[in-house]
């Protein structure tokens, strides 16, 4: 149980662009290196318009399912996989990461990438997950996915691209709204 009351969040605003992005922020490993894949998607608002001012962070285990605790995310040496990356969307709302397929952190578990999203107009960061599409048995047994109805569940599962990459779109609002997560049981979405 928390003893102190958490500090409130606030929107990232429109002007993070000269502060949060850094060189190779979205390259968890070098593009083209063995095992590297492209993870891409578009961020949409409730009108279905791509938004140009969102920034995403991903945090994931390595391809063996190990949680990495190595420094060097901000000054990448090109060899150390730190598991964390950041990507601002471009003018067309598209973000791109170079990463690896995460491994399952426990035998038989569904492999996923953890995501935090920030945007102008979004008062507080949102958390979600990107699941790999392949292991259907593991997906069916996943506690989070199995607690969702099928339509909403699909918003958390990436598509496998022909080049081996992953495509996953994020919808902040609307009919196909992405499932966002509350780890606290106290942050209600729309109160």
């Amino acid at each position: 149980m928390s003893k102190l009351t958490p500090t409130p969040g606030q929107t990232v605003g429109p002007f993070y662009g000269y502060a949060l992005p850094f060189n190779k922020d979205n390259e968890l490993l070098a593009p083209g290196s063995p095992g590297s894949i492209r993870l891409q998607g578009t961020v949409y608002d409730g009108a279905g318009e791509a938004i140009p001012d969102a920034i995403l962070e991903i945090w994931q285990p390595d391809s063996e399912g190990n949680v990495v605790q190595r420094t060097g995310s901000l000054v990448r040496d090109g060899y150390t996989f730190t598991g964390w990356g950041r990507a601002a969307v471009g003018n067309s709302g598209v973000f791109t990461f170079t990463t690896v397929n995460p491994g399952p952190t426990e035998a038989g578990a569904a492999a996923f990438i953890s995501v935090a999203v920030f945007a102008r107009g979004l008062m507080n960061r949102l958390f979600t997950r990107i699941y790999l599409p392949e292991n259907e048995e593991a997906l069916a047994a996943d506690p989070l996915l199995s607690s969702l109805d099928p339509e909403r569940r699909s918003t958390l599962i990436a598509r496998r691209d022909a080049d081996g990459g992953l495509t996953w779109d994020l919808r902040l609002q609307g009919g196909n709204e992405t499932v966002f997560l509350d780890f606290e049981r106290s942050e209600g979405a729309t109160q």
């Binding site: 928390s2 003893k3 102190l4 958490p6 500090t7 409130p8 969040g9 606030q10 929107t11 990232v12 605003g13 429109p14 002007f15 993070y16 662009g17 000269y18 502060a19 949060l20 608002d45 409730g46 009108a47 318009e49 945090w59 285990p61 949680v67 990495v68 605790q69 190595r70 420094t71 060097g72 995310s73 901000l74 000054v75 995460p102 952190t105 578990a109 996923f112 953890s114 935090a116 102008r120 107009g121 979004l122 008062m123 507080n124 960061r125 958390f127 506690p143 989070l144 607690s147 909403r152 902040l172 609307g174 709204e177 499932v179 997560l181 509350d182 780890f183 606290e184 979405a189 729309t190």
Partner: protein, 291 residues
């Protein structure tokens, strides 16, 4: 009150270069919403919250995602409830940052150029704590802000206030073993924006912090005590609870003020509780910096 049909108009509007230097003094579009319109909406939401509290509702501690007076939020908040999830493995850890990532000098925003920046030099210092009061050691803190004239170095900020060639407004540091951070910077000016006619943001510094668990990730804004713009600002007011708002306001600290050099402000940040089962070493703050 503008809610649906024209919401996109406001989103775009905020991105357009600000008005010509004199346009703000000669508002020509009678349809533009005024501060009085916005303040009335904010007041109504505040009164509804006060009634709910009186009827026994729990105090709110976070901003509302759905807060229409902040027009850009209208199409950008989830309409479905956040889905409860128990954090798993990766979510119970945070990325590790260290002195490979951040140089010690990055915490002084006044020495990044050849000359001294214009404005009131300040020290902002505090601690990053988790919900159990444990210091968050060896973690990344990032800040960004406008200069003393209220101008950001960003292509989308084109309002007619001067840029300062000696001030970028970006800093980073790694927290100490006791969770402490410290920045030397310039007090930012108030910033005009296009949410409504004559909208001004209270002076603020953007803060980005990590905890020991990824679920503790937070981006927020620190404000300065006594700002007259607080009641007028839809972003600050999106936190409807006064005690919660107060948690974003730094305290002036004369002990921290440095004679003939800089005014001191103190601001502690409390993250949500860690969900991880802690080992003794972690609890004493040895985690983090492997350098």
């Amino acid at each position: 009150m503008l809610l649906d049909a024209n919401a996109g108009h406001y989103q775009d509007d905020e991105l357009v270069p600000a008005a010509e230097p004199h346009a703000a003094h000669a508002p020509s579009d009678a349809a533009v919403e005024t501060q009085a319109d916005l303040s009335a909406e904010i007041k109504a939401i505040g009164e509804a919250y006060a009634r709910a509290l009186k009827d026994g509702a729990a105090p709110e501690t976070q901003p509302r995602l759905d807060f229409a007076p902040y027009r850009s939020s209208i199409l950008r908040h989830p309409t479905k409830s956040l889905h409860h999830a128990d954090p798993e493995t990766i979510e119970l850890y945070s990325p590790a940052f260290g002195h490979q990532d951040v140089h010690a000098l990055e915490s002084d925003l006044t020495i990044q150029h050849n000359g001294e920046p214009q404005g009131e030099r300040i020290i902002v210092q505090g601690k990053v704590l988790d919900g159990d009061g444990r210091p968050v050691a060896g973690q990344l803190v990032e800040i960004w802000q406008a200069n003393a004239a209220g101008r950001y170095i960003h292509k989308r900020d084109q309002h007619p206030a001067p840029l300062d060639p000696n001030f970028t407004g970006v800093g980073r540091c790694i927290t100490g073993p006791d969770g402490s951070y410290r920045f030397t910077t310039i007090k930012p000016g108030a910033y005009p924006w296009k949410n409504h006619l004559n909208a001004w943001r209270p002076a603020h510094i953007h803060f980005s912090m990590f905890g020991t668990d990824f679920t503790q990730r937070i981006v927020t804004q620190m404000y300065f005590p006594g700002d007259q713009l607080f009641p007028l600002d839809p972003i600050y007011q999106s936190i409807v609870d006064q005690d919660a708002r107060d948690r974003l306001v730094a305290k002036y600290d004369h002990e921290l003020t440095s004679p003939e050099w800089a005014l001191g402000y103190n601001w502690d940040i409390v993250l949500s509780g860690s969900k991880r089962t802690w080992t003794e070493n972690e609890a004493f703050g040895d985690a983090g910096d492997e350098e």
